[in-house]
């Protein structure tokens, strides 16, 4: 900092002579500086946490939020300021590190993002002394992998950008800074690799983000709901992730990535349903193992969606489908239950949702209690009390476990909701209802789009060539595919 200071002073001596010549030009901006200050004070009245330092002999006023700035840098700056004479103020501030601001909205954004604002009579200056306070980089808790990098995004967008830059070491990585919101503006960065991402997509997503004027968007997962095409669909359309390696991979795949300040989530677009079925683990595994795991996930989705519904359909309407050897156990366990299978299934599924939600909300220390209470109460007592049948517990547990296999938390939650629809349908119409439900679900999924790209992309519309990139985890090509 001392070195910097010497540099400032040297610059300032060189410029000393020039200053005297331009004082006449400053007359207009003098008025500008004072009017900004007045507006600033009126805007920020009743902000008791706003700190101010005045240098009356220099006609300088400095405003800042003490908890947003780096105090050391600020103190050093003040000690420099104390040493200069009124004449030297202007040249000192014309150093490129200090940005002159001419607009009240810029001033507002700067001070709220942690800069120190210095008002002279003529101008307002932004002194970038932001403090990078925040959580340090830690492994992701929502998207864990076994084989792969363990760092995850944090709330600071600068750190997040650095995590991506480190993975995409190329000048082709472009970033666009945008703002959303009306009163409280939030910064959104769009990242893409030039030449890989589609320009049309970029224009489209830019347009959509700029058209969002709502305030109170505090997280990426909220933002994407303002810019997606089908807000009434239960299915997530933008892929959001906490993992920088996923983001880097998606970018090389031609996707555009969005980061929002103070949110540890990045969104990727355009994506399809099958992006939600992917985990970075698949790429660490041998391709055969990776493909097997992927297929397991598709089966898991079917199990979550249909297993309980199938139980309801079979026990309510299609007793012919029960294998002979299963009949005694099924009859025995059903015989004590006073409710029809639909009510029984909905009750148990609802109880399971309660357990899951309670587990997610409770602090981890209390969370263990939920496991014990849930395991014992639901597992043992419900059967003994004759509220549910043994087989249904197995069915519900299996479909719950299967729902956790889906790597995306967003998709897994959507599928759990859709499952209730299937159970009700099967309670009304049996297997016919399940088939109806499947039909409606497939129609819905294939009508969804994300940034004008179909949701079921390699299947509908059919592109068998791309199956190996999204449907399964095909082997890596040793030849480079993209220039």
């Amino acid at each position: 900092m001392r070195k910097d200071r010497n540099r400032f002073l040297k610059d300032f001596k060189l410029q000393k002579d020039q200053i005297r010549n331009i004082t006449s030009d400053m007359r207009e901006s003098k008025l500008a500086g004072e009017s900004i200050l007045e507006q600033f004070i009126s805007d920020f009245k009743n902000s008791s946490d706003l700190s101010v330092t005045e240098f009356p002999h220099l006609t300088v006023k400095i405003y800042y939020f003490s908890y947003l700035i780096n105090k050391d840098h600020y103190e050093q700056f003040l000690s420099m300021l104390r040493k200069i004479t009124p004449d030297e103020v202007q040249p000192f501030l014309s150093h490129s590190e200090f940005k002159a601001l001419s607009d009240m909205s810029d001033v507002e954004e700067a001070i709220l993002s942690g800069s120190v604002i210095l008002f002279t009579e003529k101008q307002a200056y932004e002194l970038p002394f932001q403090e990078g306070k925040g959580r340090s980089i830690a492994p992701s808790e929502t998207e864990t992998v076994i084989l792969g990098a363990h760092d995850a995004f944090v709330e600071s967008v600068d750190v997040n950008l650095s995590l991506i830059r480190k993975r995409v070491m190329s000048s082709k990585l472009k970033t666009i800074k945008l703002h959303v919101g009306n009163k409280a503006k939030r910064t959104v960065y769009l990242l893409y690799i030039e030449g890989v991402a589609s320009e049309n997509d970029l224009e489209e997503i830019k347009k959509r983000i700029l058209s969002v004027h709502n305030d109170g968007i505090v997280d990426t997962n909220m933002l994407v709901q303002y810019i997606d095409e089908y807000p009434n669909s239960p299915f997530p359309q933008f892929y959001t992730t906490e993992r920088p390696d996923v983001v880097a991979y998606k970018m090389f795949d031609g996707k555009i990535v969005g980061l929002m300040d103070n949110s540890p989530f990045a969104f990727c677009t355009p994506v399809s349903f099958f992006d939600f079925m992917e985990s970075m683990d698949d790429f660490g595994q041998r391709w055969i193992v990776g493909t097997f795991i992927k297929i397991t996930r598709y089966i898991a989705i079917l199990v979550t969606l249909l297993f309980t519904a199938l139980y309801v359909a079979v026990t309510t309407y299609h007793y012919e489908m029960i294998p002979q050897a299963l009949l005694p156990t099924l009859l025995e366990s059903r015989s004590k239950v006073p409710f029809p299978p639909v009510i029984e299934a909905l009750f148990l599924e609802f109880l399971l949702e309660l357990l899951r939600e309670a587990g997610a909300r409770l602090p981890t220390k209390v969370g263990q209690t939920i496991g014990i209470v849930g395991g014992i109460v639901i597992g043992q007592a419900a059967v003994q009390a004759g509220i549910t049948s043994n087989i249904l517990i197995i069915v519900v547990a299996a479909s719950a476990i299967a729902s956790f296999v889906v790597p995306s938390y967003l998709l897994s939650a959507s599928i759990r909701i859709v499952r209730f629809g299937f159970i009700i349908l099967s309670g009304f119409w049996g297997n016919l209802g399940i088939i109806f439900g499947m039909g409606i679900l497939i129609i819905h999924l294939s009508s969804l789009t994300n940034l004008n790209s179909p949701y079921l992309l390699p299947i509908s519309p059919m592109y068998p060539k791309f199956f190996k990139y999204s449907l399964i985890r095909g082997p890596f090509k040793k030849k480079a595919e993209r220039g």
């Binding site: 026990t315 309510t316 309407y317 007793y319 012919e320 029960i322 002979q324 009949l327 005694p328 099924l330 009859l331 025995e332 059903r334 015989s335 004590k336 239950v337 029809p340 299978p341 009304f428 119409w429 049996g430 016919l432």
Partner: protein
Amino acid sequence: MNKVFVSIIVFFLTGCAEQRIIDDLALINAVGYDVTDNEKNPLKLTVTFPIITKDGKYDRKTILVEGKSSKEAREKVRMKTNLKLESGQMRVSLFGQEIANKGMLPLLNSLVRDPSIGTRAKLALAEDEASDILMLQIKNEGQNATYLEQFLTKLNRESLRTNYNIYQFLRDYYDDGIDPILPVFRVEKNNIAYNGIGLFQEDKLVEILKPSEARYLFLFREEMKQGNFVEQIDVGEEEKASIMLNYELKEHHIKIQSSSTNPKKASIYIKLIGDVIEYTGKEEISDPKIQKKIEKLITKKIQQEGKELIVKLQKLQVDPLGINRYVRNKMNYKEWKALDKYQSYQDMNINIEANIIINSSGKWK
């Protein structure tokens, strides 16, 4: 909003399907058909279905009614239980000897017509009364239906491949070149036991073969790919040895020598490769010479016993081996239609050409 409204209307206007919750159902797993002396109600129907007792145990209930037809009798069963009667889980359908003598088709007709009964439901005959078998309470054996079904499945896996479900029975019935067969069960010292094979002419039971005779029948039916051959053979003068062979049927074909000659001539070729499991003779069976001798003895035995069986079948005018299928293949449709097939079958000269090869003599020596 309109769309949502319309779909809700559609949803509720259709109403629910007819609910059949499994714990309110009487899932019939076996039925038995018999004749009665009663002229008004000539059919005796026995149904058995699983129930859950008050203390949560799996048990069964058997109901016996008399009626005019099988569905009429079923209506009477409906009046005798608190559960809703459903036949979709029916596994075994038993026919009493007497009713099978009269013809099975009317009963099968009503079974097949019911869409909830699959064509894989198995059929079997009961010596004397089917109701005796279904009413029999064997201790700790559970459901008689499950027992019978397992028994029939086992028979099919082992050397007695009857493999008879509704579909296969009707297939053989409607094929004019072969006659169906069914396994026979009877009550034997508080147990249900296999007791031979029922031979059919069209849909009427003609004769029941004893298990010892039935063994040879399966040797000549091509469905059986492997099995056990247990027999006493004359190894020397006045000396008998019992031998058991685990065989595989390598070749099986039936040849009709010529179409124009009358009576017709047919030959059944079979080739068995077997491993000796048991041999009680004094000679050392691992000796190739002795093996050759025994091969010859077994061949002779099969030819002799098989001939006896076939003559018996011809006399009864039943064709469970499907020899008429090969006769049919040799002629055109007009000729086949004009042929009195049972008469020509009876007059046919059928000989057996068996080829037995002993593959190994087992682990001993």
